[in-house]
Subunit: 344 residues, 4 copies
């Protein structure tokens, strides 16, 4: 592979936990590069491939029909050693040896920290594309993969509701998002869950099983017998849904069934909005390169393409939508009654 071509040559990689829509983002990067007559080199296994010189050339034909699949055709990986100075320096050397003028990093906050670290040792442009199901990056209304994860969690909750209604039982469904309740809140609202336990709702006083039982009983008193479905963000209860379910049964004789979705939330056909977002952001990343930008994340705010300093994406906080939270937690919660005035 010659580095002497007159066409601009850029790199791309997917890093960290994979997210549905990463392939669509990769496709958009390659198609936009083709459109603007640029060449694309993809590193496999994220920063690991960059360090190991494991790469391949990607052309339109290689990516045309990958947008309907989850995962990432160039594979992803976590790369703890990329925090070291030597690793960043080696990466910079490899990028230069390949004649790359820019690198597109598709991933989450850990990947962007790696990108920022690399930028201290490499002169090329670095553009981030937000690919994570957690939606926990500042500066963009949505991250690639989040909509799909919500759809999968909602689908599981729908299935649980079918059987819960048949038997009038309590169910706990554990979803991803240990630091951010986006998946929990959106799936709970979409599926009409009776309760959600999210990182953002945790208080100084820890939640007790007794408090949960009290809510379950008050909901039954207000609504009559029926199913009760709880959405639990991971790491918000010791031992997760399995442990909490056992406690409800052992301590309160309340039949309860757990469900742990796990990595199911990263699979399946990417949702339309993830594919469209990925397409927009992949093209935007290429156009940011053409505009001379660097150390920014391609994002979307209020339907507008934006460029956000990489460092902002993890140092600033992306809060839950206050209105959604209020609706699900207060308006739709039968044990909270209004004093007849809207809060806004």
């Amino acid at each position: 592979m010659s580095a002497t071509t007159s066409r601009q040559r850029i790199g791309v990689l997917t890093s960290g936990g994979d997210a549905p829509g990463m392939n669509a983002a990769l496709r958009a990067v390659v198609l936009a590069a083709e459109h603007y007559d640029m060449e694309v080199i993809a590193f496999r296994h994220g920063y690991e491939g960059l360090l190991n010189n494991e790469y391949l050339s990607l052309k339109a034909a290689d990516v045309l029909h990958v947008l309907q699949y989850s995962g990432t055709i160039i594979k992803s990986a976590r790369c703890p050693r990329f925090k070291e100075v030597a690793a960043a320096q080696l990466a910079a050397e490899n990028l230069d040896a390949l004649g790359l003028s820019a690198l597109v990093v598709i991933g989450g906050d850990g990947s962007f920290r790696g990108a920022e670290h690399l930028s201290q040792y490499w002169q090329g442009q670095i553009i981030g594309v937000p690919g994570t199901i957690d939606n926990d990056l500042y500066g963009t209304d949505a991250t690639i993969g989040y909509a799909t994860a919500v759809a999968i969690a909602m689908d599981a909750l729908d299935k649980i509701r079918d059987t819960a209604d048949a038997m009038d039982r309590v169910f706990i469904v554990e979803v991803m998002g240990r630091h951010a309740g986006f998946i929990g809140l959106s799936s709970a609202m979409a599926a009409g869950a009776e309760r959600m336990i999210l990182p953002e709702l945790q208080r100084d006083k820890p939640l007790t099983v007794a408090a949960l039982v009290k809510h379950i009983k008050r909901v039954e008193a207000v609504r009559g017998p029926g199913s009760y479905v709880m959405v639990l963000s991971e790491h918000q209860w010791p031992g997760g849904a399995v442990a909490l379910s056992e406690q409800l049964e052992a301590e309160f004789d309340m039949p309860c069934r757990p469900c742990l979705l796990g990595h199911i939330q990263r699979g399946g056909a990417p949702a339309p909005s993830d594919r469209i977002l990925a397409s927009q952001l992949g093209v935007h990343a290429i156009e940011l390169i053409l505009q001379g930008a660097t150390r920014v994340m391609a994002g979307i705010k209020a339907n507008q393409m934006v460029a956000v300093p990489l460092v902002d994406t993890w140092t600033k906080k992306n809060p839950l939508d206050e209105n959604l939270l209020r609706i699900q937690h207060e308006i739709f919660n039968p044990v909270k009654k209004s004093a007849n005035k809207p809060s806004q």
Copy 2:
């Protein structure tokens, strides 16, 4: 049913073509009404039920678990006679007789015209909630049902791609949206279609079969043999996908298969974003009533709840997203090559 209760009593109906998420909007209206201690009367079959005094009282227990189903539990209908003065007057009488102070109309532009017409003869508050798969209402970033319709069209396109790739054939998939290309554009981008024929892309000079064949052949020349999938908005070709497919075979000996999605696009489990949007807008409608608003549509713009004059929703134009159009039509179209400059 007594009209002398001290609680505020409001009406609700679903009107026009049904849209996935109408049930979720209805549920949100009822739950928010419960929260604010209001009573809800639902009219069946849209304005028909209002004229025929066909109604029922809805409580939380009636709607708790309807948000996962398409259609509308209170049924919908088109009601051409509602344009007449006598009909609006009769509706006003019926609303007054029931002691209703406000009416929530879940539907599209035709339903909103009806609501505006009614407002000339009735003093109560009227709030619209945008429920239509077509996404063709001014004043809101999305309408309820649109996301689901796109998801269903995309799913069909994904299935077509599987078989198209096996045989290297041309396929035409006809989608809804005779006046607006939203479903066509979004599903084409989400599924990576090679071509789309939308109302907004129609020119002075009518499109010919020969021009389509030329594009098909140029795409093959650039990309190599493979499948070619075309998204056709309804009413953009005489006889639709079936006729166009026959013409391609008869006139150009090009094997081609049609698919007509039709009302499939209105069914299935509503997408998460439709359910969440419907929940937000249903609550917003109730809170607009509490705030004294009338003759407005509850909408969402840039993640903010807004109130849009009903009359604006159909007199002003909701254009396709220019950036999406540019990406799908130019950047991802292999027969359009850039002069190496981004257009923005």
Copy 3:
């Protein structure tokens, strides 16, 4: 409700764990009864409703469009006290008081034991319809709900594969079937799992983590790096998938992720074959009544409708398909090599 009608009147109930397709079976019972001019009384909450005289009349219009939903519209329940003589006697009195000449019981082996118990105290005809996701009843090639459970488990495994491939990781998916490996075997084969741990494959010598790790490493040696997905039937490992996953990580430093499907396997739209089977068996139950049969289960063997003595359904064993087991466990297992001869 008068018992003096000249039309034959029969009862129906759904009992035990709900299974997708129970509604379709109920619908078939009601439609066939309508066809043969019989009246149907449905008891709610299984035998509980029979003991509590909680029942309703079901007509065709009530069940026409329920076949596309999981759960059971007449609800199900477990009823431990039905084993008592007094309960069976009370049930017999209630059935006689309602003038019922036959009872159709849709459920699994526990429900059929209850039916057999009841038959000692009641003279009416009793027909079982096999409704359980576990497929563990003798005398029928399939039980209602089994196909749907397999489809849901397979879908989860497909999603896991997407993300597993992106990161080359080990995953453990826990499925239902503590006494029978049908769901485990079929979903493993359908999804191409690398390993399955089923009740039927458990040996005298208990399985160790070390043995699992050895298989994982041998598969990697033969097949190269890649994802490794294990299907684990519930109750086949202490602490289930969560515990096993932790052991693999703690003891062998092998990154591993668990997933616990739980009751998701009972929800969702019933699979076509469950709906068709339920339709056939529901009709068959009514026709068995007309033929004078009693204390039998309506079943299907080799595409033929059969009637199996109820007591056989749990006293005789329904083994896993030997050929399926052989294929998945031996032919598709890369660490088992043939001596170049087929085993049959």
Copy 4:
């Protein structure tokens, strides 16, 4: 590629219309071949690739994770010229030149006719594997792809029902199967369609629009207002669902909407039973080769693996299941009343 290896070398191809599960069958052929230490050569584009010497070697790693995708990774094609003697002779020469001792043909009746034709000019073993969504082959209880096609048609019918119920309308859904009503019958029963028009139900006296309208009105009279969904096999009405829908509206003023599923029925994730069937039959094909069989199709009857003479598969008739037909057409049809006696 050397033909002098001591390992047995066999060929495989997929031919005719693609069917979901063909990849699973291909995978099973390759994995079983690996197990029995055989080498596999795959021809691309069906018989076309055999004539053009377009082939590749397939190993386990190439096919491990293809079973979850529809289509066929080695592509399919129709090949009219394969009927000629010269073509069969050329194919025989190519097979011999590659040192192949057997050929596995995955396809439908046209592909099997081709195989039988080839057998007159080639001495190697030829085994057919039934891959067609139409289920119209004699000698096997099911063909690969049929279950998936039914699932997709049913899903479409479910979606139609949602919206049909909202508006109380008539819908016509056109499904595949011009010579056989398997897809039509099974999807109609699974989705509870009110009417089906199948090749097998066509009479001497052609069906008229007036007769259809009469049925629609009688169903409404018996069941009350509601949705009416009709399943129409392709080629059973001039102009298909679109034309019939227009006639109902134009001649009888009956609002009606058509839907043409087309090739959607060949896509999507293959159903579990198609993957399991394909796995069994792919292994069976290899084991039939080891047993010395030729000119037979690997099939399944009453859960047993069978070998059926290729020529029987299209010369003998695979009828619709009489019991299914009776249930859907008579028992579930509200306008046909029994004389209170079951027909069997």
